[in-house]
């Protein structure tokens, strides 16, 4: 909780083979981390379409994370490299839409990195708390009345 009372809504797409296990480990280690993140399990970070990410933002997420296997460790060989490239392209796109690049975060978390998992969750939460609400859906609709 911050002074402003802003609790970020964060969506994290996590790869089934590594990061998701990392989350489990973090849980079993009883590591405390922010409850503000909704985890969505995917078979591979490479399955996270840019459409999913942007829909999460449109749907009200203040931040979006993608967590996958370390480079070279992807079960589908190239999945996470593709993720990296898309992510690199989405950043300037966000920029153009006046959305801070930091609201999108990509990292590699292996099955054994429970602590890292908890840490990146908290760090993301801090970053987004700093940035404040996205409010992208609040595009001012002047269709009902209003002055020129």
């Amino acid at each position: 909780m911050t002074e402003t009372g802003f609790e970020p809504k964060i969506v994290a797409f996590v790869c089934n083979w590594c990061s998701y296990v990392g989350a489990d480990i973090a849980g079993s280690m009883k590591l405390k981390y922010t409850p503000n993140v909704n985890l969505i399990r995917v078979m591979c970070s490479g399955r996270v379409d840019p459409e999913f990410i942007m829909e999460a933002f449109r749907g009200g997420a203040d931040g979006v994370m993608v967590l996958g296997c370390h480079p070279g460790d992807c079960h589908y060989i190239e999945g996470n490299y593709n993720t990296l490239k898309r992510y690199s392209m989405l950043k300037p796109l966000l920029d153009q839409f006046n959305i801070e690049q930091d609201r999108l975060y990509l990292d590699w978390v292996s099955a054994s990195e429970g602590e890292k998992f908890a840490r990146v969750m908290d760090e993301m939460n801090d970053r987004i708390t700093q940035l404040g609400p996205l409010n992208w859906d609040k595009v001012i609709d002047t269709r009902q009345g209003g002055e020129v």
Binding site: D49, P50, E51, M54, E55, R58, P71, Y81, N82, L84, K85, R86, S88, M89, L90, P92, L93, Q96, F97, N98, I99, L134, N135, W136, K138, V139, I140, D141, T142, R143, G145, G146, E147, V148
Partner: protein, 324 residues
Amino acid sequence: MSDKPKIGIYWCSSCGGCEEAIVDLNETLLDVVAAVDIVFWPVAMDFKYEDVENLEDGELLASFINGAIRLSEQEEIAKLLRRKSQLVFAFGSCAIMGGIPGLANMTNREEVFTRVYKEMESNDNPENTVPQTEILVDGKYNLKLPEFFNSVYPLDQIIPVDYYIPGCAPSPDTIKDAFTAILEGKLPEKGTVLSPNKSMCDTCPRKETKPDKVEIEKFTRPHQYDKLDDGKCFLEAGIICMGPATRGGCGERCINANMPCRGCYGPSNNVKDQGLRMLSVLASIIKSDKEEEIAEVLATLPDLIGPLYMYGLPSSILFHKRIE
């Protein structure tokens, strides 16, 4: 009045090109005119607002509406036509996706007004006059203007739409096929886009040269490339061509002029967001796995909106630039 089915053609925020496209049908237009009563078509014949209001609800078999929705009046008329029509066809890229005027969703009303009326270098406007929706000129002449919205909307965000006729403007064949389907009662299920559900690349004359795996080390902009006419797939040269994310059926018109596709036919059925799909395709052809190198490649692509969302920003997931 005959008992031929009645249809209407209307334009919203439109350039008039969609109307020209109908006129370009030439002989086919005469067949259409013979089979139906066009009860209104402002571009071509007499039509009064009241005439439409006086129709029974559903009295029109179909309305064809082109242009996006930007002004209050357009919204009102679109709603009126919806009530009076059994079927509504969104005609052309603007009505379906917002079209090129939809790029205005990267800005808003205030910015447009400031630029056009206050800042423009050629203006002589010392008092920063800006048009008003209601104004009393010289204290006695009462004049009104319709309201200018903050965003451009595709038609189906304003009223339910039954069919879509894509293109900027739709090609003569696309229009002909649509009219034939209507006249012969062979319309597919509602919600259909009336152009083949294939990607542009499937029918592109350059597809033979599209390598199985494209790999590029930089993006090239069309004006920088001296071999536009070599007949090879544009993507291979690192030129953005929207073919992979675009529905076929236009006759590859731009490609025939040695220019890449910009996606006016919109996405095919399996593509949810044309621009983001294209972004995925482009990302996958970058030949590098290293963050810094990827960044270097991307530096050769200074604007993503123009190439990826030239026609479809208002209908995309992104819809409108964030306003703080």
